[in-house]
Subunit: 173 residues, 2 copies
Amino acid sequence: MEFDLKKSLEILDKTPTVLEAMLQGLSDEWIFNNEGDETWSPYDVIGHLIHGEKTDWIPRLEIILAQQGGSKFDPFDRFAQFKNSEGKTLHQLLEEFKILRKHNLEIVRNKKLTNLQYTLKGMHPSLEEVTLAQLLATWVVHDLNHIAQVARVMAKQYKHEVGPWFEYLGILK
Amino acid sequence: MEFDLKKSLEILDKTPTVLEAMLQGLSDEWIFNNEGDETWSPYDVIGHLIHGEKTDWIPRLEIILAQQGGSKFDPFDRFAQFKNSEGKTLHQLLEEFKILRKHNLEIVRNKKLTNLQYTLKGMHPSLEEVTLAQLLATWVVHDLNHIAQVARVMAKQYKHEVGPWFEYLGILK
């Protein structure tokens, strides 16, 4: 499947609703438990997605489109959510993510990007040259990655409860 | 986290809405593409979940509760969906799954299961002895496994589109 903006937006539009459907109203153990040391809970994941909306996807898109000063991206802070989410409920984070995402997708739609622009390049701090199409495709896959992660983290809370079925459940391994 | 019926039902209740939020209205490539030979598309997964509602979870629960004739489970057909879903739209499958799941969770709730009943055993065709609590915990993890699978199958459609970011995206490997 080749990169296509319309099809990418189909997924990006849905993610806040998907995560709300997965998490809203669950008991705390499903939301705040993680997979062990240095891993993230579903609550942490939503904070990470919020930080991405603020500092990653759109700022990098703007850097690529501007084509100035080597189009270098700022490094992304993968741990910012631990401070930024402090004192917020899951519900607040889900609402914040929904608003930020909606606003960001409006920015993307208003750009009316051309095929030529999709090939423009930016300089990633460690991956080096990447194109605008790759950035947008990565945004989609990054969403799906974290949806799968949230499902996996929750599944693992029942790792010991499934008994002999453990061996049939790839998600627990 | 120990098995708890109320917390299990929280997840089981949500799954039809989660899958609808993930899939409803997407372009065909997201829904019908799979991960390669002998793998399942999101469309196939919904058919599999429907077959589970009809032939797996509740029939096995009833077999365990009855405690008769060795409480042997029938084998589950992991490929039934390829025939049963024929001619149906994704929307029809999502609706069918939603109705079956709602009905099945009513059955579970109406049983008013006791702690003693959770320890009753059934005989799985290959795993042998399993308890009712393990069956119910597996139902939860099985849902989450397939939610993660749907996200992964969709993510893989953009495997080549993310360029150098491939190495950061665990879901693509």
